[in-house]
Point group: C2
Chain length 377, copies 2
């Protein structure tokens, strides 16, 4: 069986590396000739909306999936006319539009911060009045990693925010001074069989995920499972689905969904019985799902912009799993991650500060390097 993936970045790459052992083969589609999944498998180089390329992909594979949610409608249409496409296109639709997504949470009784649509400056002023401040103004479509967002703390920010983002459909959301962020990752097979990974606790920096720490037995596990379950059923979902949640005053609030494998689940490669990547591929190819049970505790740290020195990192942490994606360094780019897996939570906690420091210092060296800044101009 051959699996097609639209998108050839690190998520596709890890799907391949984690699932070749099932005896499958893969073809990815990506506009970049150097797409990192292409280093480890067959790549069709073409824009995502190139219909010839999409038909070529469909002709080579038995099933198609996506490594990102902002797939052009035409692409999904061309593909689903020819072969099974998972997750279901409807799920992509919800995740592409923050307003539709929030309405879906509301429809399913999943608590979420209050929100209002904003299509004009008066509507934004009305939202600030009704929701209170601070609030977060976001583009309804095509936002990721904190891009397309503006935080409005007080009246004088409203015009600036409107000037920064206005002109496209927006959504205003109540700002939540949350206690922590978690995410629930679940996988649902073609028969409806569903499994949930233990939730990790996530820390962001500059809008990008920095750390995910999974300590099995999280007190919010059951709530998180109940919420994602409603989404999986409503969407008749097949594959891995992620739901990001805030914990605030003792309850969970849904932030957003990602209809795909997720950065906050990278720890599952070493830290669970079956990784999110393999389970996604099992689901879309109709194979039985693997156990999602955690093996001990895990921490994953993202390498943003640049990798930390490989020799130094491997020497410092003899149990680290170092994941370099084969991507060129560039400020803000996800170029790799590291995972450490331990039997108990105490040993894990002891390593987190140093692990975080190493990742951030490589990242900051990149951002502040005049050489790199020049090269990118």
């Amino acid at each position: 069986m051959i699996v097609g993936i639209v998108g050839g970045g690190q998520l596709a790459r890890m799907m391949l590396l984690e699932s070749y052992s099932l005896g499958l083969r893969f073809v990815t589609l990506d506009p970049s000739a150097d797409a990192c999944a292409g280093h480890v498998g067959e790549l069709i180089q073409a824009p995502y909306d190139n219909e010839d390329a999409l038909r070529q992909l469909a002709g080579k594979v038995d099933v198609v999936t996506f490594e990102f949610e902002n797939v052009p409608d035409t692409s999904v249409h061309v593909l689903s006319e020819q072969l099974p496409v998972y997750p279901p296109p409807e799920a992509l639709g919800f995740s592409q539009d923050r307003m539709a997504e929030k309405n879906l949470f509301t429809e399913l009784g999943i608590p979420t911060p209050s929100y209002l649509p904003v299509d004009s400056l008066p509507e934004l002023e009305g939202a600030a009045f009704e929701l209170g401040m601070p609030l977060i103004l976001k583009t309804r479509r095509l936002g990721y990693d904190g891009k397309g967002q503006y935080r409005i703390n007080a009246r004088q920010d409203i015009l600036t925010a409107w000037e920064a983002l206005g002109g496209v459909p927006l959504i205003a959301e109540q700002y939540i001074a949350f206690d922590r962020e978690i995410s629930i990752i679940a996988v649902r097979g073609q028969s409806g069989e569903t499994r949930y990974y233990p939730v990790p606790e996530n820390t962001h920096r500059n809008g990008i995920l920095h750390l995910s720490v999974c300590r099995p037995g999280d007190p919010r596990q059951a709530d998180a499972e109940s919420y994602i379950d409603r989404l999986l059923d409503r969407l008749n979902y097949v594959g891995v689905l992620t739901l990001e949640l805030f914990e605030h005053e003792g309850r969970l609030l849904a932030n957003e969904i990602a209809p795909r494998v997720h950065n906050s689940g990278h720890w599952t490669i070493e830290g669970s019985q079956t990784s999110q990547f393999e389970n996604h591929v099992r689901a879309i190819t109709g194979l039985p799902l693997g156990s999602t049970a955690a093996k001990g505790c895990s921490v994953m740290v993202n390498f943003i912009g640049n990798l930390p020195d490989r020799v130094e990192t491997l020497a410092l942490f003899e149990t680290i799993s170092f994941h370099a994606y084969g991507k060129e360094p560039r400020p803000g780019r996800k170029v790799g991650h590291g995972t450490i897996n331990t039997v108990d939570a105490e040993s894990l906690e002891a390593m987190i500060p140093e692990l975080s420091r190493i990742a951030l210092s490589a990242s900051e060296a990149m951002t502040s390097s005049p050489l790199v800044a020049t090269a990118r101009k």
Copy 2:
């Protein structure tokens, strides 16, 4: 950095899949266009002694290694003139000649069954007298998986054995009715840094490995480490080295070495902090070695000839890691393996009989199928 591998079978394939995450790239050389490592990386298709192809490989990569020991001398020579070659060619030499290998054990004080060179029928008769029977007659070169061996139980077998194997240099070895077989896998870096995996206990069927079971804390671990340590130092070894051992009457006897990653170490992918494949690649590329500590207990079962039904196997064992090599079924061929990793030994023991049964029944179905037998004629 780019790594070259002579041989594109499942060992090379697993080296790639386990080490891409270090940010490395790979080129393999194999005579078969369908070599299974070629499914997951760049392949040069050419015979192993094709000097043009070897030079082409050397021109593309920074360091070269081997997935098997029977590399033609010329190939090693062509390569080592141009770039670093690990493990050291001398180690290949010893493992290619059972007589040289046994003499090396003797030189290093590593106990091994008694042996004698045999180059004629009278020498074989002399060996039978001196070593006693049963004894095992083996070709000195190019034997693997029980091929090129003949067991002599009594005087009347001597002539038959000679007729089966005679004409090439042979070795006669005392037959050991061992209590069990174990193997020690160690990795040595370019700086001499050495690490040892916990020894697994191995069970063969028809001369081919069937099961490897690793329960950390084996009472023979220290002896095994001491023996392989002598070999690593003597050979100034770099990479993974395997030493197969018999346990007999409370002591270990060396059977043979394999200067490479080994089938009895496949469990390390899931069952140890750093797999044998990744540690071999770390060693030959000069990276710090990763921890070889076991994560709980593991069992690996080989899939010989044919894979067991994937759906049935995954449904039966929700924690199995299923490894299909992407090879066409053929009687006696290693086409995949499965690993189960548990926290405690009891849960592991409970699963071994069923796991073994599934693997053997797929294998036997293959061997007894008239269709396949016909197709292979």
